[in-house]
């Protein structure tokens, strides 16, 4: 495999993995985020 091909594959895999991880952590915080978005009305 061409070195540039390998570098492209590497970046694609890293990017997808990082995106999935970040999104999982976002979902963990999502409940709190949505509550925060509605804090004023709830108050």
């Amino acid at each position: 495999m061409n070195g540039w091909d390998a570098f492209t594959w590497f970046n694609a895999v890293v990017l997808v993995a990082a995106t999935c991880l970040i999104f999982i952590f976002f979902l963990r915080d999502a409940g709190e985020v949505l509550r925060q978005a509605g804090r004023k009305k709830d108050d």
């Binding site: 091909d5 970046n11 694609a12 990082a18 999104f23």
Partner: protein
């Protein structure tokens, strides 16, 4: 109307995405956020959502199209000579700015100038920030996407998609922007990663690029003039005063969360930028192989290339990702412009004690004004990179010097120093661009004006992109002169209420 590149199934995916964005805006609107929640999300954003909103906001279509165009025309220099040096600026921002900015609970970038130098400097900063935040580039790009993929007239595409982004921004403010940014972030990253890999397989990998490409294509500097490259990288110093970037730091729950988010975003950008550069280079190979039209505009290279490689259905997902790239930038900067108009211009000029409701109404008016201005400007310029460099140069020349002195200089800082520094930066930028346009000639290849002159028997080229080399020293000179002749109030930070 011309031919469309997308199938009905792809269109359905795009429509679904757009409806979801509006739904999020309506959801947050029904929660009736206050002014502080509307503009800085109640200062309670955590690291994951900060990463998403930072990454998707700061990388708009000017990056997707501009960087891929750079890769398409010049090769790996786009990544090795431009992306990597410029990301080092973010490292400085993470270390130096996050803690300092978050500590003082600012609402906006011009408020820093107002608090440290008084109303006049704040107003000049607000004008520069407002002009920088006008979403001309994003609207132009939205129009181009619709033209290339759907066959629509560019202004119709920009109008329809721009109004949707405007709607959810008006409805929900920064919370709606951040939540939509998160979904847009996922779409942007995954579709580019999958699309570029499929394009690589479609054209036969980089071996095919090497077969057709010019010699300089894989050279780290790509045969580009080194001063032009430095000017491009220097223009990214604007991140140190980028109002959208600042707004996210202000919205962070803590300085530590902001700093962590910036570091993670840098890693994401490193991977994303290579894929975008590679996408441009691979699209060029597709053109050379006859898989894409020979007259393909370099701006459209990555879009046409990935659509070529993706199957039906995934094209729709990719298209939604591309729209997300533009919308996530446009919504954020429209919001910044709205805050500039209400909080940074109207409030200090007309009504320092404006109520929460008034500020909300004025901010929304400002968002609409910025959007309309952006729409008007969107089709005047035909080079994404040149327009972006001009906007970034203007903002940087006006506010960089006084902001850095405000944040990091413990000595004397007079209000006149701040005002003079901003004013000189503004006049110098406009004057430089006009002078080079008047004295020089237009260069079609780089989409800029270049003035060639002789001095001491040698010939020199002065590009419009070199403006920062002149405007920043002049802005610094303005600051020094203002500091020497201006009065030094005892505690300037207490002059203006927060």
């Amino acid at each position: 109307m011309t031919d469309t590149l997308v199938a009905p199934l792809d269109l359905a995916v795009v429509v679904g995405y757009l409806m979801l964005m509006i739904g999020i805006g309506v959801f947050v609107y029904r929660k009736a956020p206050s002014f502080e929640e509307f503009v800085v999300a109640g200062r309670s954003m955590t690291t994951p959502i900060l990463v998403c909103t930072l990454a998707s906001t700061y990388y708009g279509l000017e990056d997707l199209f501009g960087t891929s165009e750079f890769g398409y025309n010049d090769g790996v220099v786009s990544y090795l000579g431009y992306t990597i040096p410029s990301l080092s600026i973010y490292v400085f921002a993470a270390f130096a700015l996050a803690k300092r900015l978050r500590r003082e609970n600012f609402i906006s970038l011009p408020e820093i100038l107002e608090r440290y130098y008084g109303r006049d400097a704040g107003l000049l900063g607000a004008v520069a920030s407002f002009a920088y935040s006008i979403p001309a580039l994003s609207l132009f790009a939205l129009g181009r996407i619709c033209q290339v993929t759907l066959g629509l007239d560019p202004w119709i595409g920009a109008l329809v998609l721009g109004v949707i982004a405007l709607a959810y921004t008006l409805l929900g403010g920064l919370w709606a922007v951040a939540i939509t940014d998160t979904l847009q972030f996922v779409l942007m990253m995954v579709t580019v990663a999958v699309g570029v890999v499929l394009l690589m397989n479609e054209v036969g990998g980089f071996a095919a690029v090497q077969e057709f490409a010019p010699e300089t294509y894989f050279a780290p500097l790509g045969g580009m003039p080194i001063w032009l490259l430095i000017a491009y990288v220097a223009s990214l110093i604007s991140v140190l005063v980028d109002p959208g970037f600042y707004q996210r730091i202000f919205a962070a729950r803590s300085a530590r969360q902001a700093r962590t988010a910036i570091f993670i975003a840098i890693g994401v950008w490193l991977a994303y930028d290579w894929l975008v550069t590679a996408g441009g280079m691979l699209a060029r190979a597709a053109v050379d192989q006859g898989m894409l039209p020979a007259d393909l505009h370099s701006n459209d290279a990555i879009l046409a290339g990935i659509i070529l490689a993706l199957p039906t259905g995934l094209v729709g997902v990719f298209l939604a990702g591309v729209l997300a790239t533009a919308m996530s930038t446009m919504d954020s900067y429209c919001l910044v412009a709205g805050v500039n108009l209400s909080h940074d211009i109207y409030r200090p000029l007309r009504k320092p004690d404006a109520t929460d409701a008034e500020m909300m109404r004025l901010t929304k008016t400002g968002i609409v004004v910025a959007w309309i201005a952006g729409f008007g400007l969107a089709f005047v310029f035909d080079r994404l990179m040149a327009l972006w460099v001009f906007m970034a140069t203007g903002l940087t020349s006006v506010v960089l010097v006084p902001i850095m002195f405000a944040l990091f200089w413990k000595g004397k800082r007079t209000p006149l120093a701040g005002t003079l520094s901003c004013l000189v930066g503004l006049v110098a930028t406009v004057g430089f661009y006009l002078a080079v346009a008047w004295l020089g000639v237009e260069n079609e290849t780089y989409g800029t004006y270049i003035w060639t002159f002789s001095f001491g028997g040698e010939s020199y080229d002065l590009w419009q992109e070199y403006a920062l080399y002149f405007t920043l020293p002049l802005s610094l000179l303005g600051f020094i002169v203002g500091n020497l002749i201006g009065k030094d109030p005892d505690k300037p930070a207490q002059e203006v209420s927060a």
